[in-house]
């Protein structure tokens, strides 16, 4: 069982952009330096390193964790890559938590990196290789198909108007105006979303997060060691993850049951009994606007089909009762896959430390971050507390 309580004591992040000149190693190095500086540590204080980075095909470097090792501060240390597709960014701190909670290490540096720009003209081409080669690839699908299928099912089962989904994109791109790393911060309207180019109906251009380059890092420490470095640790008190069947056409996509399973695991560990009351802010994974709503429901923070209305009514804004994606999310800050998930965990850390500046949510005590991926089948959940 859990031998040691795990604290977060530092975090760092690069700019998120469509293309960055730096290599993945260089970006990892930036984020790690920033995290070490913020915790007033050096690499010598780090006992173990966990790297989270998503499909090799984007960077075009097979086994890229090894390529990234030196920039991520992992040389000559116990270094492990964890990988669960889009869920990786929140899975990386879960991997770090294993290292520390087990009592094996007192410190663990968690790094997440993604460069989607090397794959050109569009990283979508790399996604062609994730499909079952026998019965799916011959249909020549693109990845947006399956999200459009899921979005359609979700909207129709609950009779949710597209306007309500679009309000989420408006909120997140607006929130991102206050995030210094943001790639797609903008003041837009619901009408802008509804008028934007149709990609795969019902998904339109402004419903989607962009491809991005970027990196993030976070430092975990056991309770006694954390106290040596800071009077103000944030606790990683709950972790959960779950994968549903890869036969995704054999499940009902209207509800992400696997996210609910992961959330229940994390809440139980963190002794959260009533998540809607006890969680001050949430960072659910929002590569699409409907996904924020879908995941808010999966995290048991809204009734099934009830999440979009929370945004329409303003409750999910930073000054609302249930702030959701105060960072600006993937829709606003950007989506360098693994780094985007870890960005959400960094946001929880900064919010709970009262260091989120203009993005600060009042009275932030408990926060939950979540990511999602593979073939719409994984939920990864972390619960942070001050």
């Amino acid at each position: 069982m859990v031998k040691k309580r795990v604290a977060v004591i530092g975090a760092g992040i690069t700019l998120f952009r469509r293309r960055l000149q730096e290599t993945g190693k260089e970006l990892s190095h930036y984020a790690v330096e920033m995290a070490l500086d913020s915790a007033e540590m050096t690499r010598d204080d780090i006992e173990s390193v966990v790297m989270g980075t998503a499909p090799d095909a984007f960077d075009g470097i097979h086994m890229k964790a090894e390529n990234l090792l030196d920039g991520a501060g992992g040389a000559r240390k116990p270094y492990t890559r964890v990988f669960v597709g889009g869920g990786t960014g929140v899975f990386a701190p879960i991997g770090g938590w294993w290292h520390v909670a087990s009592g094996l290490f007192d410190t663990c540096l968690v790094v997440a990196e993604e460069k989607m720009s090397p794959c050109y003209p569009h990283p979508q081409t790399a996604f062609r290789t994730i499909w079952d080669p026998i019965i799916t690839r011959p249909l020549e699908p693109n990845l947006v198909w399956i999200f459009a299928l899921e979005m359609q099912r979700y909207m129709q089962i609950h009779n949710i108007p597209k306007e309500h989904i679009a309000a989420i994109a408006v909120k997140n791109k607006g929130n991102a105006l206050d995030h210094p790393s943001a790639q797609l911060a903008a003041k837009i309207t619901v009408q802008d979303v509804l008028d934007s180019e149709v990609m795969v109906w019902p998904v339109q251009r402004l419903d989607i997060s962009p491809p991005s380059d970027g990196a993030a890092a976070m430092i975990l420490a056991s309770e006694d060691v954390a106290r040596k470095y800071t009077d103000d640790p944030v606790w990683l008190d709950g972790v959960g993850w779950s994968l549903d069947s890869a036969y995704w056409t054999n499940r009902d996509l209207y509800f992400p049951e696997y996210v609910a399973t992961a959330a229940r695991m994390a809440y139980k560990m963190a002794k959260i009994h009533n998540p809607r009351k006890e969680i001050s802010l949430a960072e659910p994974y929002d590569p699409f606007d409907y996904k924020e709503a879908h995941h808010t429901e999966g995290l048991l923070l809204a009734d099934k089909g009830g999440a979009p209305k929370l945004t329409v009514e303003g409750q999910t804004f930073r000054d609302g009762d249930q702030p959701i994606c105060p960072s600006g999310g993937l829709l606003g800050v950007g989506n360098p896959i693994a780094a985007a998930g870890l960005m959400k965990c960094c946001e929880c850390f900064w919010q709970l430390r009262n260091e989120a500046g203009k993005r600060q949510v009042p009275k932030a005590e408990t926060a939950v971050a979540q990511a999602w991926g593979d073939l719409m089948q994984i939920g990864t959940v972390t619960v942070f507390r001050r």
Partner: protein, 168 residues
């Protein structure tokens, strides 16, 4: 953000910066080729598609008829028991209209795609395929559809032996 941070590192580039050679790039086109064996369950499934029929596997423990077929039941975690033909009709579970091709290039005429729950399989057991011969505006969840097959001589044992699904 921690007030300690004054600058957020990273050097943004535009696609023009790349094309104009403002930064050096190094290109390589992989020439990897693969030949996958289709396996036991898909092997029979594809053979039957060639015959113009859709086949699934039944698990007697949970009574589910599974398509695409597999030789194991992932829920009961035991071998499945028998082959069962399902109908070549079904109901649309969900659908979309794609204005993007497989490489995310824009296309004018959208491709209608759907998850189709198959008659004769267990409830909620569907497959991914394309729709055809249908007015995109009329497509809806619950719409009844049937498989339109390629002529027998053109079939090759592929999911594309079904050309598309059309409204009944």
């Amino acid at each position: 953000m921690s007030e300690k941070f004054k600058e957020f590192p990273g050097t943004p580039l535009s696609s023009r910066d790349i094309k104009s050679g403002k930064v050096l790039t190094f290109k390589w086109r992989p020439n990897a080729k693969y030949a996958w064996t289709v396996g036991i369950a898909y092997g029979r499934f594809l053979e039957e598609l060639k015959n113009g029929r859709i086949i699934g596997r039944k698990c007697r423990e949970c009574s589910r008829v599974l398509v695409p077929p597999r030789m194991f039941c992932e829920q009961c975690f035991r071998p499945t028991d028998e082959w069962v033909f399902v109908k070549n009709t079904g109901r649309i579970n969900t659908f979309s209209l794609s204005y993007l091709d497989a490489d995310a290039r824009r296309i004018k005429t959208p491709i209608p795609v759907a998850v189709i729950d198959l008659d004769g399989a267990s409830p909620g057991i569907g497959i991914l395929h394309k729709l055809g011969n249908v007015d995109p505006k009329r497509i809806h969840i619950g719409m009844r559809v049937r498989a339109v097959w390629k002529p027998a001589k053109q079939r090759e044992g592929s999911i594309t032996d079904i050309k598309y699904w059309e409204p009944i």
